[in-house]
Amino acid sequence: MSGCVKKFVCVLAVALALPVIGWAEAAPAATPNLFNMLLPATATPEPAPAATPNLFDMLKGTQAPAAETAAPGTPNLFDMLKGTPAPAGATTAPPAPTVVPTPAIAVARDTLALRADLPAQPVQNGAKLTDSDRLVAENARVRLYVDEAACSFKVEDVSNGYLFASSPAPERLTALNREWQNMASSIVVAESLNASGTASRAFYMADNADAPVFTYASDGFSVALHFPAAQVRLTVHVSLTASGFAISIPHDSIIEDGGMYLSRVLVLPFFGAAEGDTIPGYTLIPDGSGALMRFEKPANYLAAFTGRVYGQDYGTRRPSARASMRWAGVTDLNLPLFGMAHGPDWSAYLALCTQGEAFMQIEASPAGVMTQFHRAYAAFIYRESYSQPTGRSSASFLAIPPRTNVLDVTMEYVLLSGEEANYSGMASVYRQRLIDQGILAKQQDSEVPLLLRVLMAETEKGVVGMSRLVMTTLEQAQGFVDTLRAGGVRRVDTALSGYARGGLSAQKLGNPALDNALGSREAFDKLATSVSQQGQAYLETAMVTGFDGQVDRAGLAYNVDGGLITLDMPDKPLFTKQSFQNLQYVQQTLAALPGAPIALRDIGNQLHSDHRENRVQPRAAVMLGYAEVLRQLNDRAQVALFTPYAYAFGGMDAAMEAPMKNSQFSYETDTVPFYQMVLSGCADVFTTPLNYGSGTAREALQLIDYNVSPAYLVTYKGAGDLRMSNTTDLYSSRFTDWQDDMLAVYQRVYEPLRAVRGASVISRRVPLDGLVKLGYDNGVVLYVNYTASPQTLDGLTIAPESAVLGKEVEQ
């Protein structure tokens, strides 16, 4: 009996003691995560009690916040636009399913390879004048016709007589339902929210609308429109410019006279719309590096393209932290423009936003989504409903912001014809405009740089507390530079990050002081001096976003819901929340910087409004503030910006991490370097770090094609050392692993890029599949053959996967 009890006691005690002695094997406490422990059971799915883990669950993360689904059952315009299925009763009818016959030969779209350009040809079946069109204004380049009854207009390019219409001919719209017919016939559409946040569209041709009132001037007309469903009135001005026309909606003209809230205005939703493949051509959208959407037969697409110019505004829409870390986010719209080419090389327009771009969206739809038309237009945001959380639990309600965005809208449509009527022409027009405005300036001739970004130090988790992890010392960085120089790199630019006390994730934003654990001040001066003989020695830092220890708590920006703007990164080992600084703080910090070269990671690509009570800074004000402070900084220092949006172009000398791809929607038929073409000859443009790329030959060729210089992000120690720091996304950073590649890539791109330093691209053509021909304004012609076989063009044979330099043959 007693033995039995003893045994039982033994067993019990062992069971109790085991966790103490051997708990490390049973792991749960080894890296205890209080956050997870405290989550309610519904928030994290219980991991299955299997011995083998499920990677899938680990990666799935939790769902995106429920904010956007806050009004179930009601048609939510935002969701519809995003492409989530519209709930029953939505205002739009689904299009008839597209029937595609089975071909005898399966044709694949090569999504990475380059497709040859369409042959240049006159377009015959464009818009036609009708009896009701009346000429109301004209100049040397453009004629403007108005059809008052239909409330539509057409513009004629005098140089070739081609017409662009604000709406397709009515007989082409018969296949559409009433709503889409209205949409296609409108020059402006209003969208509004009701008190519960439900969005709906309103049209001025509704039965109960007051008739449009036209007023004419010497250079155009204005029309006062009434949108009864939105209870909004506004006036649209259309006036000719030297090379096209401008359409504007002054904020003063907008009258909201009811219980509805104006949320968006769509401008010229069907201007130049092309039906199926009846007109050859394409839409250009500034998605990432740039994308073309060729006019093809209607195909089976799920949703249209929609994107906000200059990225999301975290001040009005919270970033959804870990919605999905597995798919790369869409690339941003870096430029406030889009374009459409009919022909191509026949007629085209470039639509430029000159006012209101901080609130601009671009929507572009291929044929097959809702209608059989390819179309592109700008939409402007006046109010966005948002999810107002009501405490720490996930409860929230849908709220409408008390204030409307104050913006005058002006879109300028520039007509292009002939050789210019393509995206190269659009890029040239836009670049010239920025040069004329003093925002861009032609660059001096200089050596081809290789950018070496070096991570110096980081903070890591130790057994007790945190400790400094030096990844590269100044001396080692000097060694990198010397190695590259000795290997034949003519100009090395360096950008040191994590250089101040605390390292990358813990140093104060904008702190220019070096951590002396990296080496002496003399070592830094020596590095800076040796680099700046030909290149630039940047210090690289974030300025707007930072982890807890990095930001100044007095200068944080607020979301419209009253809370701080934050970005949760619950999976980072050390710091799990990023906060955002407000405009005032950024201005002060930048103003205090010395005149040394500086590379700013976020200010050029992070634009958020700030909603602190009594000190609201709308997105437009923040944008102008950033542009101004960058310009001032640039007056006294060399400035490099990361993936800069157009508003920051005036305050920089170099663009780092230029987008090398777009969002890769299947209707984006061609990836083009539109962004790089705009900047070509006006700034040093660097690629995303090549040592995290896919290592294909295509990457090096792209450097030449896109006219960007190579960049690497390296450390002295191996990336494995960073695993207990917040920088978990470097996996291949050891300099010695990559030095041979750097030299090889530099060798490969040097000659062609040297020939076009300081020059701007004036034409980019793809005469054959996978073969690019670039024309520069200094007369240099470059051929880049992406294919694995030799190609012959203009009497030249271009070897596989290589680039050849040629001088333009005099015509």
Partner: protein, 673 residues
């Protein structure tokens, strides 16, 4: 390996959606592999979406199959199968007019095509030229089951024109049929796994209740594939399933594969000619595994109803061609996406092929390319280590396995290096042993003439400070525990200070036990938390002391809290005796000898229990029975205290959240209206 699995479970997510520095991809989805720390990590693109077949006129296609570089698509909505050789891309239509809703398609090495027709409830075999050869009707055989349904869903070729069918709604296994349509039997039936709660229910519930409450049906098959190795691969439906590779007997050859990652709702699988396994999941993710079940990477992902290439909304089938291109069929987009491997991924394949062919140097050269692209890949370092192991370069292997964090393989390599060391140093070792023995002999001889030579006897009389005395009494506690506790009780031995020092010492030993036992036995220091170890150790200690004091106070125990405090410290005596040598020994043991460590630990725990028990009896002057009861009640107290503590904590938290929410909501409603 268990540690690795547990660590993975813990890892949940290490990656954030927004990169601070470098995360980038030329694709639309990031590629993820397992890092040397055992966690999922971002890595360079393994595949890039290169081509997209959008214009095939498909309607609701349900399956895709590739064999000998011929692509087959079950174009279900159009009631036909498309056969597309990948070199010419000529589209050939098969079974039009006959097929009603083909949901599965496969082909054999002779080019014969097998189709499962869900609606027609038949399976078909077509000749290479597309003519119908054989219709597989519902088997008449009694062994099939007269009442069993026959709904062919997915198909794989059998031998001699026969086939394997995934039969919708059948739980008996894969239906195997001969080339003549005869039922050959069920293959590889899934079994019902019994969880602990199932077991308990089966004990306590009546048969009636069990029928009602316990699902006894095994999981259903989701898909089937026959590899070039002629083996059958299957996946089940549902969450946490693994790819199974069946021997002729139906047994799963991958059952004990290490480092396996389970899949959630896989839709289809394919096996590359070199044995790599691929699976696509409902959400659009594609997972790739080595032939022996190791995880290579995840890529692609959910399309979220956008048209981004390389992401999927309703993936239905996957296939791989001879150039390692991966084809994924999307039912909703009615399109086929092609992925091509990047140079780094190609290097990995080459390395695996070289390894299998015994070309270890070539394999190592390829792997060094892989490592250049991703220094922290578990798989790359593991494969490097295995190569070195095969080359008998044990030191290099040891280094790689240590980098990979793979203790089992490290132990293998370590055993070899230790063996070599022992062989090389046998002379020295024997010499040292001999010298020690001689010295011992010599001492004995000397002491015979000069008693007390070099012993501590001479110092014994010197008086010691109390603290030192108390600490040294641990030795006495080991030999004479009962006497020692008596001394404690009467105040001859022990002080609060000494006990505290002992507790701290025990804690230090515990920490060393966890972090200083050599690579094979220690926990990963980088994710070790001293703080939580301290909380656990001192928390449990405090609970025990308090519990024992309270329990004994109401049970006529004589001991004061001070006595319990001091006595418990001495009860840890076995820990001081056994842990240090175990820690030292663990540094030179391989996993094969881990038995010694475990045995020592069990012995230590048992001994400690005995000393604790003796302590309770002595300090409180309990009889055997009282002591037992007191200890059990102390344990009960500890459990209850933990439960109550957590309950109170949770309730308080709820209250705080509720009040906060209510106040915020009121304030907001007022502000916004």
């Amino acid at each position: 390996m268990f540690k690795r699995a547990a660590a993975l479970l813990l890892a949940l997510l290490v990656l954030a959606p927004v990169s601070v520095l470098a995360a980038q991809t030329a694709s639309t989805g990031y590629t993820i592999n397992i890092g040397v720390d055992g966690r999922p990590q971002l890595t360079q693109d393994a595949y890039l979406p290169t081509r997209l077949f959008m214009d095939l006129g498909l309607r609701g296609p349900k399956d895709l199959f590739i064999k000998d570089d011929i692509l087959y698509v079950a174009d279900s909505g159009n009631g036909r199968v498309l056969r597309i050789p990948l070199d010419t891309l000529e589209v050939e239509i098969i079974g039009a007019g006959l097929l009603r809703n083909p949901t599965g398609v496969a082909a054999d090495e002779d080019g014969r095509i097998y189709v499962a027709d869900y609606t027609a409830r038949k399976a078909y075999r077509f000749a290479r030229d597309g003519s119908l050869e054989m219709t597989f009707e519902k088997p008449e055989a009694a062994s099939f089951g007269r009442n069993s349904s026959y709904i062919p869903l997915k198909v794989a070729p059998g031998d001699g024109g026969g086939l394997y069918l995934v039969n919708e709604g059948s739980v008996a296994g894969i239906v195997q049929m001969s080339g003549e349509g005869d039922f050959l039997g069920y293959f590889a039936a899934n079994t019902v796994t019994m969880s602990l709660s199932d077991l308990l229910r089966s004990i306590f519930l009546t048969e009636e209740q069990q029928r009602f409450s316990m699902a006894r049906t095994p999981p259903a098959f989701a898909n089937i594939f026959r590899g070039d190795d002629r083996l059958i691969y299957t996946i089940n439906r549902g969450e946490n399933v693994a790819i199974k590779k069946h021997a002729i007997s139906g047994a799963n050859l991958l059952d004990d594969a290490n480092a396996r990652i389970l899949l959630d709702n896989p839709v289809d699988l394919a096996v590359a000619p070199d044995g790599r396994m691929l699976a696509v999941y409902t959400d659009g993710t594609v997972g790739e595994y080595t032939a022996d079940g190791y995880f290579i990477c995840l890529f692609a992902g959910p399309g979220n109803r956008t048209d981004r290439i390389g992401l999927f909304d309703a993936p239905a089938g996957i296939g791989v061609d001879s150039r390692n291109n991966i084809y994924v069929l999307d039912e909703r987009r009615q399109a086929i996406q092609v992925f091509a491997p990047t140079p780094a991924q190609d290097s990995l394949y080459r390395a695996m092929t070289h390894y299998n062919n015994g070309a270890y140097d070539d394999s190592i050269a390829s792997l060094e390319q892989v490592v250049k692209y991703n220094d922290t890949s578990y798989l790359a370092h593991l494969l490097l280590g295995r190569n070195y192991l095969q080359k008998n370069d044990y030191h290099a292997a040891e280094k790689e396995f240590r980098t990979a964090g793979d203790r089992a393989y490290f132990s293998q390599a370590y055993w070899e290096t230790r063996n070599l060391w022992l062989q090389n140093n046998t002379g020295w070792i024997l010499a040292v042993v001999l010298v020690v023995f001689l010295v011992w002999l010599g001492l004995g001889v000397i002491r015979r003439f000069r008693p007390g030579f070099l012993t501590r006897k001479g110092n014994a009389e010197r008086s010691q400070p109390r603290l030192v005395h108390d600490l040294l009494q641990v030795g006495y506690a080991v030999r004479h525990p009962i006497d020692n506790y008596y001394n404690v009780r009467v105040g001859l031995t022990g002080s609060a200070l000494a006990a505290t020092v002992l507790y701290v010492l025990a804690f230090v030993l515990l920490v060393l036990f966890q972090v200083a036992r050599g690579f094979i036995f220690s926990v990963d220091v980088s994710r070790y938390s001293l703080f939580y170890t301290a909380v656990y150790f001192f928390g449990i200690l405090a609970l025990f002391l308090a519990g024992n004091f309270f329990i004994s106070s109401i049970n006529d125990g004589d001991g004061t809290f001070r006595q319990i405090y001091i006595g418990s410290a001495y009860a840890l005596a076995p820990v001081f005796l056994i842990l240090p040598p175990v820690i030292l020994l663990s540094n030179v043991l391989s996993l094969d000898e881990s038995f010694f460590v475990q045995a020592a630990m069990v012995f230590m725990l048992a001994w400690t229990l005995v000393t604790v028990y003796l302590m309770v009896m002595q300090i409180h002057d309990y009889s055997f029975k009282e002591g037992t009861a007191s200890l059990l009640m102390t344990l009960f107290f500890m459990v209850v205290a933990i439960l109550v503590g957590s309950l109170v904590f949770l309730l308080l938290k709820q209250v705080v959240v509720f009040v906060q929410d209510a106040v915020t909501e009121v304030v907001l409603r007022v502000r916004l209206r």
